[in-house]
């Protein structure tokens, strides 16, 4: 049987090839899964995974936009250049947005004198309901309506906005420096703002 060694060698090669290809496949799947969850350029704020600060150099550029405010006037994001901007995506129908609304109104008042601008993006809403919402919670900063979600869409391409509410903190150079995904809290928002604006909440109020 001169054939046997040849056969066994080929058989071994076959098993090897199969095992290696299965192994490679497994590694590819694992690496893909790991890469999908990797976040190295982001730090968590206040122990919360939903509030993050982007490291300098890893801050995505905020897309420009313009729109109509709830009050009916035109608003362009470019007019906010050079200021720290808190951009809040919300809707009057959204329960967690109602939960955070008072916090946003309070922090906006706190940081007004520090030159931090607050701006809302009203998503999937009707103007009457949205205005009623701002009246209810005493929100005085403007909100741009986003009836076709075009603004949300543009921001989703740079930050993973998965729903309302989402709050982005944009630095003076127009880069997104921090984000809160979901209902924001006073500590989360003030921690991010302190880092980005350079003023802690207690300093902001004293000015």
């Amino acid at each position: 049987m001169t054939r046997a060694p040849v056969t066994r060698a080929r058989r071994r090669a076959v098993v090897l090839v199969a095992a290696v290809s299965a192994g490679v496949l497994l590694i590819v799947v694992l690496v893909a899964g790991w890469a999908g969850s990797g976040k190295s350029d982001v730090t968590e704020v206040d122990g919360s995974t939903s509030a993050v600060l982007y490291a300098a150099g890893h801050r995505p550029v905020a897309p420009g936009f313009s729109g109509t405010t709830l009050a009916g006037s035109r608003l362009s994001f470019s007019s906010y250049r050079g200021r720290v901007v808190v951009l809040n995506f919300w809707g009057s129908w959204c329960v967690p947005c109602r939960a955070e609304a008072s916090t946003l109104a309070a922090v906006a008042a706190l940081y007004r004198s520090s030159g931090v601008a607050f701006l809302g993006v009203d998503v999937r809403d009707t103007t009457a309901s949205a205005l009623a919402f701002t009246r209810t919670f005493g929100i005085t900063y403007p909100s741009v309506t986003d009836p076709s979600s075009a603004i949300t869409l543009d921001f989703t391409s740079v930050v993973p906005i998965a729903g309302t509410p989402t709050t982005l903190v944009i630095d003076r150079t127009g880069h997104i420096a921090g984000a809160v995904f979901g209902s924001t809290t006073y500590p989360e928002l003030t921690t991010i703002l302190a880092k980005v604006s350079g003023k802690a909440a207690d300093e902001a109020v004293s000015r």
């Binding site: 199969a18 899964g33 205005l131 949300t152 391409s157």
Partner: protein, 589 residues
């Protein structure tokens, strides 16, 4: 998988080593010395056997059953909650087994990956085997061709060497792969063997005719055809593998979503703007293709008379869309089963309904709602639709309305009924509530349901409103006006990157299966020897027994062609056809 076993017992495959053959150096688990390596090899052989593959396929199907019987986390989290409430003892156990997230459960992944490994382990060796069999020459022509299932014989005037030459040419022109004696054999017919003889299995039933290495003298041609059968078989297995990969692709990178879109409004394909979103394992919010869709108009026409009255005639949704933010606006129309393809996603029209429009003012005279509120209809009732309107911005108390929209209203004994699906006589019937909607905390709420536990009913009976009519709420709580209605469509958005590959692989699998069914491996041998009449040519052939139906015809026509080629060759040589064809002694044996 399908016919691995078959081909292993097939004489055609004898030149290729058997995969599962138990040779002395490789005993089964019952053998004496069986090390770890042997166990691994044994396990691998078991895994890649067709039986295990079929068992895995069955388990995969069986594992999917709870996925459709039990509510699943991914698609119906509320249903899971409900199941926990109604089956407090059983639910935690089922949850522990992953039965509420079957397709994400480790055991399901294990079955899937094992099946994948099984297929890989089956297909890869087969590739080598096919490559080996493609390299292996057909066996030598047996001595006695008359013993083959199909045979023929005749005399010719050309020399045996020339007869073999002509036969080779004819068979080659038919796409047969040839094997002929080594050149030395041609020169000296008495030389018995060529070096490769030693490599040939001595007792192998390679032609079923009992020929051995000692019977190789003479002029002969071996021809074989039908390798496409193996190619088809392999294609089938590879394509099956491809289908699995495609399904995995879809599961990892695809997504499904739903969106209800009121006429005159738009939506963007972002998670924020979708009603329901079922992403694949590796899909994040940023992966969604950035298209936007606007519903310009929607028209549904219905049969207005006869037995079919009220049945839908046609649906036509005129839309405009952009493939990316700020991109050019295109228009299209959606119909049932005519989806929009945009950015690799498909947008299907799957339903429609009515959204009555309301204007609500609160106790302070502020307009607190002004817009359309989609109502949902059941499957019957001519689009008699139900819904709620939650006015969370009303002060001092929040307002809520639960109501019914009736497109063509008729009063039947005090009950409101819709007699036609089109909005010929639209009315709404509302019950008003005031109090706390429970929206200031807690989980997200459905816009189609209202929790009235914190509210008091303001109107004792449902209040009927026609378009333009208002209802003044008692105690100066405000007014609600039924200002009109819009139609809405519900859209299903799917993105499945595995769909096209799965289709291609499916078609390839079918093609491969057809090839392996239609194409037969068959062999034809020609042997020319000196005889009293000059030269006698014997032709023999055999095909796979399982599909030999038309081989006899093919063989007969080949034999006839060989014969006329030989006659032609004789005439060209100027040898008169003095020896007319001998009767086909063996034909039909």
């Amino acid at each position: 998988m399908t016919d691995v076993r078959v081909s292993e017992t097939d004489p055609f495959e004898s030149a290729v080593p058997e995969r599962d053959g138990r040779r002395p150096g490789n005993p089964g688990p019952a053998g004496g010395s069986f090390g770890t390596a042997d166990w691994l090899k044994w396990a691998w052989r078991q895994l890649t056997s067709m039986r295990i593959a079929l068992v895995l396929l069955f388990l995969l199907a069986l594992g999917s059953v709870p996925g459709s019987m039990l509510p699943q986390e991914g698609t119906d989290p509320a249903g899971v909650q409900q199941y926990f409430t109604s089956h407090p003892a059983l639910a935690p156990l089922l949850n522990h087994l992953g039965l509420f997230d079957v397709f994400g459960a480790p055991w399901f992944a294990a079955i899937y990956l094992l099946l994948f490994a099984s297929l890989v382990g089956c297909v890869v060796p087969r590739t080598f085997r096919l490559a080996g069999s493609a390299r292996t020459l057909p066996p030598r022509a047996p001595r006695n061709l008359a013993r083959l299932p199909a045979s023929a014989g005749y005399a010719t005037a050309v020399s045996p060497a020339q007869a073999a030459e002509v036969a080779a040419r004819v068979l080659s022109s038919h796409g047969f792969r040839l094997r002929r004696p080594a050149p030395t054999v041609l020169a000296e017919p008495t030389v018995l063997a060529e070096p490769t003889v030693l490599a040939e299995p001595t007792g192998a039933p390679d032609s079923g005719s009992g020929s051995g290495p000692g019977e190789l003298e003479g002029h002969w041609v071996s021809a074989e055809k039908g390798y496409l059968r193996e190619v088809g078989n392999l294609l089938f297995h590879l394509a099956l593998l491809g289908v699995l990969v495609s399904v995995a692709l879809g599961g990892l990178f695809g997504y499904k979503a739903d969106r209800l879109l009121v006429q005159g409004t738009s939506f963007a394909d972002t998670q924020t703007d979708l009603d329901e979103f079922y992403p694949g394992r590796l899909v994040t919010a940023a992966d969604l293709p950035p298209f936007t869709v606007t519903l310009n108009t929607f028209e549904a026409s219905y049969i207005s008379s006869g037995a079919q009255r009220g049945q839908p005639n046609s649906f036509d949704a005129q839309i405009s869309y952009t493939a990316s933010s700020g991109g050019p606006v295109r228009t299209d129309r959606l119909e049932v089963n005519r989806p929009l393809s945009v950015d690799g996603a498909k947008v299907y029209l799957i339903g429609h309904g009515y959204a009555p429009e309301f204007k609500v003012t609160d106790a302070r005279g502020q307009v607190v709602f002004d817009g359309a509120q989609p109502f949902i209809s059941g499957t019957t009732g001519n689009f008699l639709s139900q819904g709620v309107l939650k006015v969370s911005g009303a002060q001092p108390e929040q307002l809520g309305f639960s109501g019914v929209f009736v497109p063509t209203a008729v009063d039947v004994d005090g009950t409101l009924e819709s007699v036609f699906p089109a909005a010929d006589n639209p009315v709404v019937s509302l019950i008003a509530y005031a109090g706390n909607l429970g929206m200031n905390s807690g989980p997200s709420q459905s816009v189609y349901q209202m929790d009235t536990t914190g509210m008091k009913q303001l109107t004792a009976a449902p209040q009927l409103l026609r378009v333009g009519q208002s209802l003044k709420l008692p105690d100066g709580q405000g007014t609600v006006t039924f200002t009109g209605y819009q139609q809405w469509v519900s859209l299903a958005i799917t993105h499945d990157p595995g769909q096209l590959p799965a289709l291609i692989c499916g078609m390839a699998a079918l093609g491969g299966l057809l090839l392996s069914f239609v194409v037969r491996r068959r062999r034809v041998f020609v042997r020319a020897s000196t005889s009293p009449e000059g030269t006698t040519v014997h032709v023999g052939g055999l095909a796979r027994t399982d599909a030999s139906g038309s081989f006899e015809d093919e063989f007969a026509s080949l034999a006839a062609e060989l014969r006329s080629a030989h006659q032609q060759a004789a005439q060209d040589q100027g040898v008169p056809p003095s020896a007319p064809a001998a009767p086909n002694r063996h034909e039909g044996e």
